[in-house]
Subunit: 200 residues, 2 copies
Amino acid sequence: MSTPKNAVISGSKAAARMREAAIDAFAETGYGGTTTRQIAARLDMSPAAMYPHYKSKEELLYAIAYEGHDSALQVVLGADIPEADATTRLTSIIGRFAQWQAEHHSRARVVQYELAALEPNHYRVITGVRRRTTQVVRDVVDIGIATGEFTVPDAEGVTLALMSLCVDICRWYPSGRYNNPEAISSLYADLALRLVGAVR
Amino acid sequence: MSTPKNAVISGSKAAARMREAAIDAFAETGYGGTTTRQIAARLDMSPAAMYPHYKSKEELLYAIAYEGHDSALQVVLGADIPEADATTRLTSIIGRFAQWQAEHHSRARVVQYELAALEPNHYRVITGVRRRTTQVVRDVVDIGIATGEFTVPDAEGVTLALMSLCVDICRWYPSGRYNNPEAISSLYADLALRLVGAVR
DNA sequence: TTATTTTCTAAGCACTCGCTTATAGTAGGC
DNA sequence: GCCTACTATAAGCGAGTGCTTAGAAAATAA
């Protein structure tokens, strides 16, 4: 779970609504291009309404970024099937991760593109969570190489590409025929197997 | 060429310096998070220094976005080898396009991530240029499928993935061993051939 | 109920925003 | 030389910025 174990995210209903409003606003106009008044206005509240819940605009972004990255990590961990072969595992992990990026494309955009606005200490926490998510994929790639299921000259490069491909979904989704999370999921599962040269 | 054929980009030396300063600033703090005063300060100029060259902050962004997208299109067109086979063409195009993204990662970030701040008319011009760039890749994918060089169940999806993969470079570059444009170029050329299932 | 804590608002502070205006400096053509 | 066109500045306008304070309202606990 993500909610109570760190003091980062307030459990209050109003705080959650503020985060949702902020996500929409940040996704549309960026962190620097969004004012705290605009966020409050989306909830028909006064300009000061954010401050009982978050000490600053940056703390609000941090709460959003932490919740989002932790959520993505849980999705990847939950999609893994440790007892299955590497091909099945990679299909499940990338399919679900890509689906999450599509389903939550506004959230994903804020969470992944606005990190530069975080304080150094906050930034470090977020990149730590992100590293753990990447490591789940990397481990499966390594196992697939070891068992001979995958043919990969460069595990680091391919892992980078797998993550990069999924993360970029929030920049363009939806587009053309790829306008629903299920279509994304199956496309990206296939692309992932191609990238690792899986025998099929 | 990109400079004189449209009135978008001023040929003046000072205007070019303003664009460079703005690119660095926008890449670091985003369009909304950057002030015109900060841009001027990078050139040790007064807060009003931008206005003889650009009517507004948005016009400055538009000039940057247009120049950047046009430059990327020229790179892709220049990398194509129409008389060669599809495998060679795709290798050249994606290798050079990815290399450009790495070499110009600050510029690429502004050009690709800050488009939402453009006026609708300006936005439309930019997406037009982007569509032409994508079409170059799409055409080669289609030809490779037709000649049997590539095995692709879904040309639209694979083209989307090829572009997406390259565009996302500016979000993370440099990283680990992938810290120079040549390494990016060869990695991405290989990844592209994997994605299209090229016979090798 | 009353007492306590939490959540919100009205008002406003010190400062910054994009941009305008009026003017000074400067480079090149004649 | 001098005119013209361009490039820059100083000063400042109206509006908006993140955030603070004091206190009202609302929810929760006793």
